[in-house]
Point group: C2
Chain length 575, copies 2
């Protein structure tokens, strides 16, 4: 994991120009998003800016993707709010401290996964679980922001609390706030859907038009600040961002409250894993487009460094953003320098623009969030997954429903648990076939599908799967059944061409099988055992003790154990 | 699951005689064990007798094993104590009520698993985890009983509490209790190790001698009751069983405290699963010896019925006992009638013998437990497992250490979690091979092992595993790497003879791979796809959208995509 910035060699003015343009466009997206996602996380908006400076530099130094744009992200902000909401009042000093601690814990977990090569842990999150979670998160976020659009108080982490709170609040809707929120929603929706076409019709080059369209939220913010200032709407009760401290974040060490860290650990683990999975999948997609590679272990390091930087900036957990990374790539970013330049842009803004943010209405930020996250909701995916596989559909539905009804953590755990259960269920009954000799050949095939010759005294059983704990018991059961119904059998040959691994559970099962077969007067043998599996068996004393033989092929086994039947099959014409 | 007592047909006097002898011997073992295991569970000893009447009848009616002996079992009693100890003072009415509720919950869970065919859940408990748990349980039980041998108070569920409590208590050792406890230990050890040989030397037939040796604990009890009565040791401070209510259990409905049931649910789930796994493995071993079969789903039903009966007898969770089942089988039991007769024997004892139990010292029961459970401890198994496979050894060690240091539930969960993790890790990197054409043939082999012809424009990749969520991400990574290092490649053919299943995660990965390959100018194709997998792919729109072809064989693929290379390989002499 030595740091090799291979992109720095050969860095020149042309590449720098590309990076600078991409950085400018990403910064225009990042400023409103970072303010909005901080609010979504229950934090002062300025912490969003802080999360968009040092973390970007840290990722540029340590990450492996050339174009991933890290920083505050909607889903991670929701998870932050879900973890901290039940513990502290949003906006309090304790809440902010806990958000910082959450970033620190995520950093430590990501570093730990990088060091111990535990990136495979992300495999626990199957695609249906992630897809169900993202859709549910999008819905929850959008619904949760409605309170800012309506100008009412309404709290709740999941639908059973959130919906009644919203419905109760509707009669108290604050009309000036609703006017600002609704017109922001309309403006942002129009910019997103139609501005590129409109600008192109006005003669703007399509590429530039597309980039200008990304600045929609900035436009909404500027307009809203002007309107609120001119009409003195703050005095009319419109909630605004208020005084924002000017300048860069001061570097602070998070307070290490061990009891709180323990409490936050599960949330930090989920945030790290989901953030990692989402980042890697974006980074892989972008890298492949230019036949570049990313190193998943380096990604863990890069994201860990970004979160560590977020923790020292008194900010919140960050990860790679899907939308900003796509924009960064399409705007022509060539190297991580683009990310560093974005950080510089945000830093300048924090120094110069913060006084102007005082009059920014929260409703505009909420509108920006809603328009951004509704793109995450994909309920059609549920239908596709269900149609493709009932098991995967069930896992996706459980995650979606679990997150909506029970909350983020419980929902994800439900989905992960269910997909593990279904996985175990699927792998616990491997395909096994009783095989017989194809007449006129040395081949053995399933007796249910081919007209083959079966020896009355030798049972040939082919296992099409590695033998390990999920299926060890099934092997015992199947062999017990087969022997109980075949009183003449004296030898059982287990044909192992599909066995890539035998674990300790399966070894115990094999030993139990041998013993039970012995007491029933049957001897076990093995055939077609792969080299690595033989090596493994030799590390136990199974081969000395089981009393049977290991044959190179099933044909050899039958020739040794029941020569008559073999000859009969050999001499007969192939049917 | 219709109840078919096939053993009842043809039941005759000869079989009844065998069953009766086995029942007598098992009853002689069962009476002291049931008293002792009730004490171990923190319950009045008489509840052990209650757990050995109706549950045995219930299992005889509904179970599928002919010779399994159910009732109180050391490990389950320990788990009961571990679950209830932190909640209520042992011996209190609430404690007894909670034990009954635990039996009821176990019954419901076992019935639920039977109905929903969830017996495969037991696969979560790999053999190393069970072995580590049983050894640790044996050690914890033996250490926990030392307090009764020494006559001191000492509480604790795991070593960090138990050891200091024992060491602190040693100076207060009650010498008369220690005298009884130590001599019981000596007597029981001698009977177990040497009495059969001694009796045989005295001319007793070996079979009878073996059966008499099983009555060692009864002998110890009788002697101890006589000594305590004669020397009035209760007045000297020796803890005795005390007044035992005479007669049969009155049938009662457990009080349904929903909050408590929720609290007990995890413990009940572990007790059910571990009890089920242990029972089934004993039952399978015994059935195989006579080429009989057991039906795991019927076992769930039988054990559920036994626990339901235990709950209605105001008793505690029960399961199949390894030691008593072996004795039952070896003493010649032929049918479940033996179990019913044992129940009858215990019922008679509860009616007639209970007044005599008043003077029974707890130290004797503790000695009986210690001698019984030390046979469970098998630390050598840890070395064997570790030698055979590091991953399995780690899971076993984690369970052993976890149970000893953290307690029963935490230890098992640690072991199960670790074995799932390691399993996922192992399956997350399936074997994949870049293959090339064997000169002079239509076969394709690993380029690392054979002198094969590789096409410069077509990459042939064979996957030797089903594609599902644990390895979906790895597939993406590997293909990304391979393409990044082969700039000339225009087609990638994924050879799927080893793919038995594609789940939704792998389908998503395939779609992401297709898209990334497209943007890199490479087209994906498939070859040698099995029928069921094709059917599954047809349930999605992948085949219409991926833009490639599905070839019957890798040779067909190469002939279509790079005919020149195929001809070159065909015409060349086999190397």
């Amino acid at each position: 994991m030595r740091w090799r910035p291979d992109w720095l060699r050969g860095y020149n003015r042309r590449i720098a120009g590309h990076d600078a343009i991409a950085a400018l466009i990403v910064t225009l997206m990042l400023i409103p998003q970072s303010l909005a996602y901080a609010m979504l996380a229950g934090l002062p908006p300025v912490t969003g800016l802080y999360a968009s400076i040092l973390p970007l530099l840290a990722y540029a130094l340590f990450g492996s993707s050339r174009t991933l744009a890290v920083g505050p992200v909607a889903v991670v902000s929701l998870m932050t709010a879900a973890a901290l909401g039940p513990l502290f009042p949003p906006g309090s000093v304790e809440y902010l401290g806990a958000a910082t601690l959450l970033a620190l814990l995520s950093a430590l977990l990501l570093f730990g996964m990088a060091l111990l090569r535990l990136g495979f842990l992300a495999n626990f999150l199957s695609h249906p679980v992630i897809s169900g979670f993202i859709s549910a998160a999008g819905l929850l976020i959008a619904l949760g922001q409605l309170k800012h659009i309506l100008g009412i108080p309404a709290a709740g982490q999941a639908l059973p609390q959130l919906l009644p709170a919203l419905l109760e609040g509707v009669p108290q809707t604050h009309l000036p706030t609703l006017a600002i929120g609704a017109s922001s929603l309309l403006l942002l929706w129009w910019v997103r859907a139609h501005s590129k076409a409109a600008l192109t019709r006005l003669g703007v080059a399509p590429a530039l038009a597309g980039n200008l369209a990304k600045a929609g939220p900035v436009l909404a913010i500027v307009l809203a600040v002007l309107v609120v200032g001119a009409l003195q709407l703050e005095q009319a009760g419109v909630q605004v961002v208020g005084a924002v401290p000017r300048g860069l974040p001061t570097l602070v060490l998070p307070t290490l409250d061990l009891a709180l860290m323990r409490q936050l650990l599960p949330a930090a683990a989920l945030i790290s894993l989901i953030g990692f999975v989402e980042s890697v999948s974006v980074a892989q997609t972008l890298a492949a487009k230019r036949r570049q590679r990313i190193a998943p272990d380096r990604e863990l390091l890069g994201l860990g460094a970004a979160n560590l930087a977020a923790a020292f900036s008194a900010s919140m957990p960050v990860t790679g953003s899907f939308s900003r990374s796509m924009v960064n790539f399409e705007a022509g970013a060539q190297t991580p320098m683009a990310g560093a330049l974005s950080a510089f842009g945000v830093a300048i803004s924090a120094l110069l623009l913060t006084p102007w943010l005082h009059d920014l209405p929260q409703a505009v930020l909420a509108a920006a969030i809603i328009v951004a996250v509704l793109g995450l909701v994909d309920l059609g995916a549920l239908r596709h997954t269900w149609h493709f596989s009932r098991a995967d559909g069930a896992a996706q539905l459980a995650t979606l429903g679990g997150v909506l009804l029970l909350g983020v953590e419980a929902g994800i755990l439900l989905g992960v648990g269910l997909s593990l259960l279904l996985f175990l269920w699927r792998t616990s009954r491997p395909h096994m076939a009783v095989v017989g000799q194809l007449p006129g050949s040395e081949h053995f095939r399933n007796i249910l599908r081919f007209a083959v010759v079966e020896s009355p005294s030798v049972l040939s059983l082919r296992v099409d799967e590695s033998l390990y704990f999920p299926n060890a018991r099934y092997l015992e059961e199947r062999i017990g059944e087969l022997i109980a119904t075949r009183p003449l059998v004296r030898h059982l040959v287990l044909m192992c061409p599909g066995v890539n691994l035998i674990d300790a559970s399966a070894l115990d099962s094999l030993e139990a099988i041998v013993e039970r077969l012995h007491s029933a007067g049957v001897q076990l043998h093995l055939s077609e055992v792969k080299g690595p599996v033989m090596d493994q068996l030799k590390r136990s004393n199974f081969l000395e003790r089981f009393g049977g033989r290991v044959f190179v092929s099933q044909y050899e086994a039958l020739r040794a154990l029941d020569p008559e039947s073999t000859q009969r099959a050999q001499s007969r014409e192939a049917g």
